[in-house]
Assembly symmetry: C2
Homo-oligomer: 586 residues x 2
């Protein structure tokens, strides 16, 4: 209640009728440093998604179904009411604002934490209500005495042997695309787009090696807006490649200078409202984010490096499966957190390791049925019974990995084995798919989902997502999903292949490899594409019902396991090779 009272006092002083605390940072990142945890600090609610609205007499937190129980507990005695999003008769926060505030009321928030896209939605949903938005208002900063600072660690060059294309070449390609699309100025706001373009990496976010920065490209200039202290070592290199380094804050000034008749491209979802609102140039309409498409199509150098990263990751994940089995066999007590820590320790021993690409999901039994499960504290104990699901990934200088394996830690029921096999059948169907140039991931989704639908089950998430290159573990624009998208799959794109079955309160099964799009053949019928599977980690044979697999599917598993063994062998100990051979025996 104390924080709430103090904030209301500040609101009064600032003439605000309502104040919004979102969960975002200044570039709408999924992962972000503690500095941005204003909603968590203010409300005590630690979930990944939530938004707080405070008025003079009421305060509410809006969050989704994943967090209803947790939020109710964490909000106790804070004076903040829980609004369960999507439940009957629960207003949206926009509706709440519209109902509670007088016409002409002042709504304040920290504009850095609101994307131009979200702000457009807010304004649209308040259609007809006349509010004044005071979005240059970080009131929390005035209350949060020991607020953690923003990160300051220096960025570094992503060396040519990893990056492949030189930043000046990338810049030239971007400018060509801009010219083709009549774009005069291009504001690059997504941090992975910036890092890819400049061939730099940094330490500003957990799990994603990027640095807070913007790039503004015109035919004549390419400005990099960044904390200058972070790029001392690499600024001369960037300057030599055609970039001009300016302070991070200078982005608004340079945007203001753009002629009003210019056409500008920017990504509203990744540009905060404080920055977006100084732009007077005309917005490019229906234009794709140029760099998002470019960086999704990995070059041959990138692909070769990525495969190497997946081999190292294969060693680490294979060792983890072996280690878990040994602990269980030896009767040792291990927890989900032990599994996650062991995974990080195995991965960090690998060459060119940077950090994990996300917090390892180690979901034992029923926890595996929560697709985005994150253990608290030590997590549950892994008992010698049923399935353990491990979804994990790493950042290496030569690639970003993402792998999921579900494996037996004890005896399995027939139902578990049947479900494991159905997931595997879907996984194999996507892995072996052949498709035409011009086809979308949406068109392939049904191949992975069909064996699971056949059993009247389904997984309520996409089958696959794009993956960055020593960047975000989720990367667009491509995907493989039930939801329609007209993004076609192109050579060099990589996508995950992760069908699943979740039995609420009992167990979850997900099997995830990563696939790279390649050309298969070309003839009068068109240009045919297929996938290269670049993940090297054995499936759990003990969990398969062989009779449910076709001859072709059995052969797929046999050939895959042979490839895993051959590829990993040089990096494994003799003991590990023997274990892997036995684990792979059908």
């Amino acid at each position: 209640m104390e924080k709430l009272n103090k904030l209301r006092k500040l609101m009064l002083e600032s003439g605000l009728d309502a104040y919004i605390i979102s969960s975002g940072d200044s570039h709408n990142n999924g992962y972000m440093p503690e500095y941005w945890s204003t909603r968590k600090w203010f409300s005590g609610f630690t979930g990944s998604s939530g938004l707080v609205v405070i008025t003079a007499t009421e305060a509410g937190l809006w969050t989704d179904g994943r967090y209803f129980i947790q939020a109710a507990a964490q909000l106790a005695n804070t004076g903040i009411d829980l609004y369960k999003m999507g439940e009957p008769n629960v207003p949206t926060y926009q509706k709440f604002l519209a109902d509670k505030l007088p016409n002409g009321g002042n709504v304040g928030f920290d504009g850095r934490t609101f994307s131009a896209e979200d702000f457009a939605v807010l304004k649209r949903e308040l259609h007809g209500q006349k509010f004044a938005f005071k979005y240059n208002n970080d009131l929390i900063d005035k209350l949060w005495a020991d607020r953690p600072p923003l990160p300051t660690r220096a960025a570094y060059e992503h060396l040519p042997k990893y990056a492949g294309l030189c930043a000046s070449e990338k810049l030239r390609n971007v400018r060509e695309e801009m010219a083709d699309n009549n774009i005069d100025a291009y504001l690059v706001s997504a941090l992975d787009d910036v890092a890819w373009l400049l061939n730099i990496r940094g330490w500003d976010l957990p799990c994603v090696p990027v640095v807070y920065a913007y790039v503004l490209i015109t035919a004549a200039d390419a400005f990099v807006f960044v904390d200058v202290a972070k790029v001392t070592d690499i600024s001369s290199k960037l300057t030599s490649l055609g970039f001009t380094i300016l302070p991070y804050e200078a982005v608004t000034e340079k945007l203001t200078e753009l002629p009003a008749e210019n056409t500008i491209l920017y990504t509203a979802a990744k540009t905060n409202v404080l920055v977006a609102d100084v732009i007077s140039a005309k917005l490019a309409e229906n234009k794709k984010n140029i760099i998002a498409y470019m960086k999704s199509q990995k070059t041959e150098t990138e692909l070769a490096n990525i495969k190497n990263a997946y081999i190292k990751e294969g060693v680490a994940t294979t060792r983890l499966i072996k280690w878990v089995g040994e602990q269980i066999h030896a009767g040792k007590t291990i927890t989900e957190d032990d599994v996650a820590e062991k995974m990080t320790s195995l991965r960090s021993a690998m060459d060119l390791y940077v950090c994990d690409s996300f917090s390892t999901i180690a979901g034992y039994a029923a926890n595996g049925a929560l697709p985005h499960y994150r253990h608290e504290g030590t997590g549950d104990t892994v008992k010698p019974d049923g399935f353990l699901l491990v979804d994990t990934g790493g950042q290496y200088l030569d690639g970003t990995t993402d792998t999921t394996r579900t494996f037996a830690v004890g005896s399995l029921t027939d139902e578990m084995k049947r479900d494991f096999t159905l997931v595997l059948k879907g996984h194999i169907a996507l892995s072996t798919a052949v498709f035409l140039k011009g086809m979308t991931g949406h068109q392939l989704d049904m191949l992975a989902r069909q064996p699971i639908l056949q059993s009247c089950q389904n997984y309520k998430h996409g089958t696959g997502h794009g993956i960055g290159y020593c960047l975000g573990v989720h990367e667009g624009p491509q995907g493989v999903a039930h939801k329609h998208s007209d993004v076609t799959l192109e050579i060099g794109m990589i996508i995950s292949n992760e069908p699943a079955i979740y039995k609420e309160g009992r167990y979850g099964i997900r099997t995830e490899n990563v696939l790279a799009v390649k050309e298969l053949c070309k003839n009068d019928n068109g240009i045919f594409y297929a996938f290269d599977d670049i993940t090297y980690c054995p499936y759990d044979n003990r969990a398969m019902v062989k009779e449910m697999l076709t001859a072709a599917e059995l052969e797929f598993v046999r050939v895959y396991h042979e490839k895993v063994q051959e590829t990993l062998a040089p990096l494994l100990t003799e003991d590990e090779r023997v274990w892997l051979k036995e684990y792979c025996d059908m």
Copy 2:
């Protein structure tokens, strides 16, 4: 040249700088009576698709790649040049008009033969060019001395035992949908929509049992505009159900009377420009054609009848396969036309037969590789070698059928057998698909296409289309296609399942059954749908490579053949039953 000279004289008298002859009728039907064959009569070109433009000094026919050779031959000495659509440096007819005519030029055509949709495209593509369109100009009628008359045969009631829902119930349901969508007036122009709503059938088109008519529905009225002489027998019934019969031509007058502030729904693709242009009411935006959606979801009565029609059709198509084999075996010479005629004769012996639902495609050898092949004269001789493809369908009072079988008439190569088996695998994959309520045919298309893509082949058409009920053999809005559509599959919809492989100049394989959407189960994961296969005709076992089929696929064929035999047995002679059993033996 004589027709061309005469037309130019008429154009001069009418002050027209250009004249367009399209291939349409007054409701944009695919099949139409000879009265509308103006383009064929004028140019001599007999293809299904083509458009003629005449100016004072030039004349051209635009048609697509299927007809380049045929059109060139048929246009010889007519004074009409061939414009090959889609070829490099060939202008569209709109571009031709824009180039050849002066600004302010007069363009004439028979507005009855141009849909409002096509006219909108024409105007859009001439953007910036100021032409005057004189579309009340049927100049051909003044030249064509022995023009065939429009059909006059009386329409008839589609009796309640066939139709199921009473026309007054259908009208009530339509009015409810109109009210829900704030539609004041609904002009029903598609002839199958009219026939479905009124529970009447007629003889105005070849292969589609409909009658030229419009219906205009408001909250208070339901006008039927039709040649009154055609409905003498059924007008009192229609009147008693709430419809008011008016002459066909009165539609424009009634449309003119609609208040300008009314919102009207109509289908621009099925409403000609003469009718559409008198509408001053506001057009309903982004509204679905109500009756198209209603009639696509067959009622239980309709489905039960349709299944019965498919059983009769199964008898006829099975007899055809037997007959062809016997002719070949006996060394008799049969042509493609003999096959088509025999098919019609076998079908016409069935109960409730009305007519064929399209001209039977009997494509021997290389002709099978042309998806819309239509034999000329007797067609080619069916030799005792390779494949014969037969795509055929009938109109029965209790259903419209569509079946394709490709079967051996002699020895087959390994390649033929492999391709046949790939098509069968795709066909089985769609037939056995399970999907969620809310999914589209577009999402299922890949299941049928995948086995064929696996061999780096493809068929360049959709996998399936909707089918009418004693109406059009092609009916929307649903489909199963590579092209994206957001139309979801609903219970009671029926679609064809016809994957294919075409080897140009050698052979074609297509296997087509018809599937009805049904509910499979319902649980926490959603509502699951599957298909009921309602076609009863054996596949050619001799053309299958058994080793390429999975155990489940082999079992599918075995079970299907058992079902075909059991279902058809009561309608077959002993001799036919014996033959079928042998034909089905694996």
